[in-house]
């Protein structure tokens, strides 16, 4: 029996529709990262020249924490009425579900970034001195790096006790290289340098971990 | 002999012995478990 096609887009559409109706993930993410921006600006002087150097770190840490909020939400939805079991008894391949979830989270986090970045720019009076287009690439690659591993580890922590705490514990150590690359690339561009090596690093990180996720997701989904 | 040197060597062995002690504790708990199991069977 050939595997049915078009499952990935159908699942993605379903997820977007659910999010549109409940707005659980995006609201909590927005509020959360807003809090982070405000709290950070209390702890540092946002007007100093220094802030340009640390802003890259602040932005990405804020987005990382916000992404964790969204990542926990995506699978919570599937667990609520055990709907995940319905997916597992169906002939649909596990990777379609994974890709749909990862792309969905990518969209959510990108929307968040698009909404929050102007706020950061205003609060911290940022003006990139380096090539801005590189920032876009860094944002896209970096977000995917966080989201692809995050989706995977969220599915993993689904099967553990105290799963909400488990996700950051699993995700953060593995994400350190990606986070370092994102922060450094952003800081470089803001202070007037280029970020080609960091972009290359992010790209290979994305490739390696996306492959690993796709190879191992079925095992995790059906782990018992 | 240098104080830092002694501290480092001592720290190494303290960590190893602490780990071994935790293994011992787990082992004795297990033994207790096994005995209980045997008693339940008879």
């Amino acid at each position: 029996m050939p595997a049915p096609t078009g499952i990935m887009p159908a699942t993605l559409r379903k997820d977007l529709r659910l999010e549109w109706r409940s707005k659980d993930a995006i609201n909590s993410m927005l509020f959360f990262s807003l809090l982070v921006v405000v709290v950070f600006s209390f702890s540092f002087d946002p007007n100093a020249e220094e802030s340009r150097r640390i802003a890259g770190g602040l932005i990405w840490v804020a987005f990382l924490f916000a992404a964790v909020v969204a990542l926990n939400q995506t699978w919570a939805r599937e667990i609520r009425n055990q709907v995940l079991d319905a997916y597992r008894v169906s002939p649909a391949p596990a990777n379609s579900l994974f890709l749909a979830k990862a792309i969905g989270n990518f969209i959510f986090v990108s929307v968040l970034e698009a909404l929050m970045t102007p706020l950061f720019v205003i609060f911290y009076q940022l003006r990139p001195l380096g090539p801005t287009w590189q920032l876009l690439i860094v944002a896209a690659l970096g977000t995917w790096a966080l989201v692809v591993n995050g989706t995977f580890f969220a599915a993993m922590s689904l099967r553990t006790r105290s799963r909400e705490i488990m996700l950051p514990l699993l995700l953060f150590p593995i994400s350190i290289p990606a986070l370092l690359a994102m922060v450094q690339a952003t800081a470089n561009v803001l202070t007037g340098g280029g970020a080609r090596v960091w972009i290359a690093l992010l790209l290979s990180y994305d490739l390696v971990f996306t492959t690993a996720c796709l190879l191992l997701f079925e095992t995790v989904l059906n782990a018992e | 002999m240098n104080g830092y040197l002694i501290a480092a060597y001592a720290a190494t062995w303290i960590i190893h012995i602490a780990y071994l002690a935790s293994l011992m504790r787990r082992y004795s708990r297990l033994k207790h478990d096994i005995e209980e199991l045997k008693r339940a069977q008879t």
Binding site: M1, P4, S22, V83, D85, A86, V89, S90, P91, N222 | -
Partner: protein, 224 residues
Amino acid sequence: MTETAPVITVSNLIKQFGRFAALRGVTAEFSAGKLYAILGDNGAGKTTLLRTLAGLNRPTSGQITILGAQKFGDICHQVGYMAHSSLLYDEMSGRENLDYFARLYGISESARCTQAIRAVGLDPDLRRPVGQYSQGMRQRMSLARALFNDPKILLLDEPFSNVDIHSATGMVHLLANIRDQGKTIFVVTHQASLLDGTADEFIWMEAGQIVARTLDLQQTARTT
């Protein structure tokens, strides 16, 4: 339909959850075109048996053969599964739910979904999200979700719980009809009396084992 050929064979099935064995060596054969009622106390292993048949639990040891296949993945499109939870998204309407699940089975014609919803006595054009359904309606929609792919084997976990007696008898009639089309149905239930006279066989489970198989309810009541 040959009555003699077993459609499901289970041999020495053991399922262990850590220190607790939910199934302790279940061996049985089930033939096509029959309605089996699985009865027993809480914790007797009924749900675990059903989940193991549905491929959701990996047996610790023992073998299952369904429709001649050892791997559940090969025949999953011929099995319908209804769990204790609804396996539906609360935020979407019944129709939207079924349309999504139909995609998972590669079913593109939506007539099948409409038909399934009608079969359980609900209105396919109901726009309300499932979360606002009454318990009985949700239960019936959940049955429709298990039915829409026209499965050869139906696995139902407590389909009559929280359903009023009128709807429950309606569901029993429906199940009898489906059985008469040559399908095999397993019903885990506490309300055995509902199936009295309809079920072909009553399977009594106790402490993870099948302790009795009888043709009518009274017979078992006498032996135990």
